[in-house]
């Protein structure tokens, strides 16, 4: 009847609006499933999935693992810190050794951009990118867009501002691709040093004034400052960043309309977003987490259906 146009989910850039629509429709039904008394369904009972995390993660890892288990897949977990990677094994060797144990799908997070794509060309398994460096984080973008769709109905014409560290953010790039494919308008906002030089070539608006950016949008997606990726100083002090780009109740209340506040987590409370905003009615942060499981179930289900 219908299938995704891709064999792997490496980035939003590779998929089309039909794929996204199919993932959302499937995720709708999975959202109903995960709210049942018995949340498990047997679809993937003959599929084995390896979660390879070469970089730290809480939400994404738990969310993928839960999604896999809800679908009855067999799951093996791997964290680089406790593995033979530290003994000098290459990525392809590591993965091929895992695949020799008859694994069908690999969910991978890696600190280097393009790692998922590289793997998809060299090993015989379905790859799902769970974040590769500052490149893409497709399932996060899907769950963000799914959460907006849930709140606003349609994304066509909807205005989304992404605020913060755009330069180091894979969430920002995937979100831009995903929102644009669904017909939304995107603006990025942050200190000029944290906005990539040629980002306007992607067709996004650029704004350095937070108040103006928020006044324009229907949805604000607040990103974390990724201090771990910043080897030089991109702004004078964290305090100055908070004063210029931190979202607080005062700014939110001064806007002419009520906007939706999102955050991909982990939140640095008091930096990019204050606690009262993060916990306010306008915030959908926890709904994003719930939707994350449903969306990842949909991605795994649709990709696994193509494995013969």
């Amino acid at each position: 009847m219908s299938a995704l146009s891709v064999k792997h989910l490496l980035g939003i850039k590779d998929i089309n609006a039909n794929d996204i629509d199919m993932i959302f429709k499937t995720a709708d039904t999975f959202k109903e499933v995960i709210n049942r008394p018995i949340k498990k369904i047997p679809s993937l009972r003959d599929i084995t999935i390896a979660n390879l995390f070469f970089e730290n993660s809480t939400r994404t890892k738990l969310s993928f693992e839960l999604a896999e288990k809800r679908l009855s897949a067999d799951v093996i977990n791997f964290a680089a810190s406790s593995s033979s990677v530290s003994k000098g094994e290459t990525l392809i060797d590591t993965v091929n050794n895992i695949l020799a144990m008859k694994v069908d799908m690999v969910v991978m997070r890696h600190p280097y951009a393009g790692a998922a794509q590289f793997l998809s060309k060299h090993v015989n398994a379905t790859i799902v990118n769970a974040g590769d460096g500052a490149h893409e984080h497709p399932t996060q973008a899907l769950l963000d867009a799914f959460s907006i769709r849930e709140k606003l109905g349609d994304l066509k014409g909807c205005k989304v501002t992404i605020v913060g560290d755009i330069l180091h953010s894979r969430v920002a790039l995937s979100n831009i691709f995903c929102l644009q494919k669904l017909g939304a308008e995107v603006m990025v906002c942050g200190p000029t040093t944290l906005i990539p030089k040629y980002i306007n070539e992607l067709g996004v608006k650029v704004e350095t004034n937070l108040k103006k950016a928020l006044e324009w949008c229907d949805v604000a997606n607040m990103l974390r400052i990724q201090l771990e990726r910043q080897d030089i100083k991109f702004f004078p002090s964290l305090r100055e960043y908070v004063m210029l780009y931190g979202l607080n109740k005062e700014i939110l209340n001064s806007l002419s309309k009520e906007i939706i506040v999102m955050h991909p987590g982990p939140i640095n409370r008091g930096i990019e977003i204050t606690s009262d905003v993060a916990d306010s009615k306008q915030s959908v942060i926890l709904q994003q987490v719930e939707n994350g499981v449903a969306v990842r179930m949909a991605v795994l289900y649709l990709l696994a259906g193509a494995i013969k």
Partner: protein
């Protein structure tokens, strides 16, 4: 060359639905502990029709009814060219200890019903599960499943196709058998 044979016309179709309702009333009296669940995608139309007709006959308004999607419980996942896109499940009541009537339009191999029973059990442990179908394609079962309430029994071969049309969906109430083999008619 394919040919169509009408198995039920609009009149017979509606008489059959009325008869199925009376059979249900015989066994379930006031429907106090009974719920009706239509299987997605096409069993939900029979379910809606049965509920409407039961109301016309008995005046009972609140017989709980819902829709159940069996896509995730099917045994042919990954054996098809592409995954089936699921439909919405809507069961807003508790099925624990209830008499459940599963409703579908055509019973053929029995595999959908098997998946339906698995899907149903994810919502609790019913007291009893019964099966109602509009058309029973007998002698073609792959699993030991038999219906409790049958609209019409037909003899078919594998290459035949039985299609139930609904007024609200297809513009007319009728049941057709589409057959490839001309001599059979």
């Amino acid at each position: 060359m394919s040919a169509q044979l009408q198995l039920l016309n609009a009149d017979a179709f509606n008489h059959t639905i009325k008869r199925l309702c009376y059979e249900l009333i015989e066994n379930h009296n006031n429907f106090k502990n009974t719920v009706i669940i239509g299987l997605q995608p096409r069993g939900i139309y029979l379910c809606a029709r049965i509920c409407k007709e039961l109301f016309n006959i008995t005046g009972l308004e609140n017989i709980p009814n819902g829709h159940l999607d069996v896509t995730f419980y099917r045994d042919d996942f990954r054996r098809r060219d592409s995954p089936l896109v699921p439909n919405r499940t809507q069961i807003d009541f508790i099925i624990e200890d209830k008499n459940v009537i599963l409703v579908d339009d055509v019973l053929y191999t029995g595999r959908t019903i098997r998946a339906g029973m698995d899907a149903l059990l994810a919502f609790g442990r019913p007291k009893k599960v019964e099966l109602m179908v509009l058309i029973d394609r007998r002698y073609s079962r792959h699993l030991p499943i038999q219906p409790d309430y049958v609209g019409k029994v037909v003899d078919t071969i594998n290459s035949d196709n039985v299609k139930v049309k609904w007024n609200e969906l297809d513009g007319s109430d009728e049941v057709l058998m589409i057959t490839e083999n001309h001599d059979k008619l």
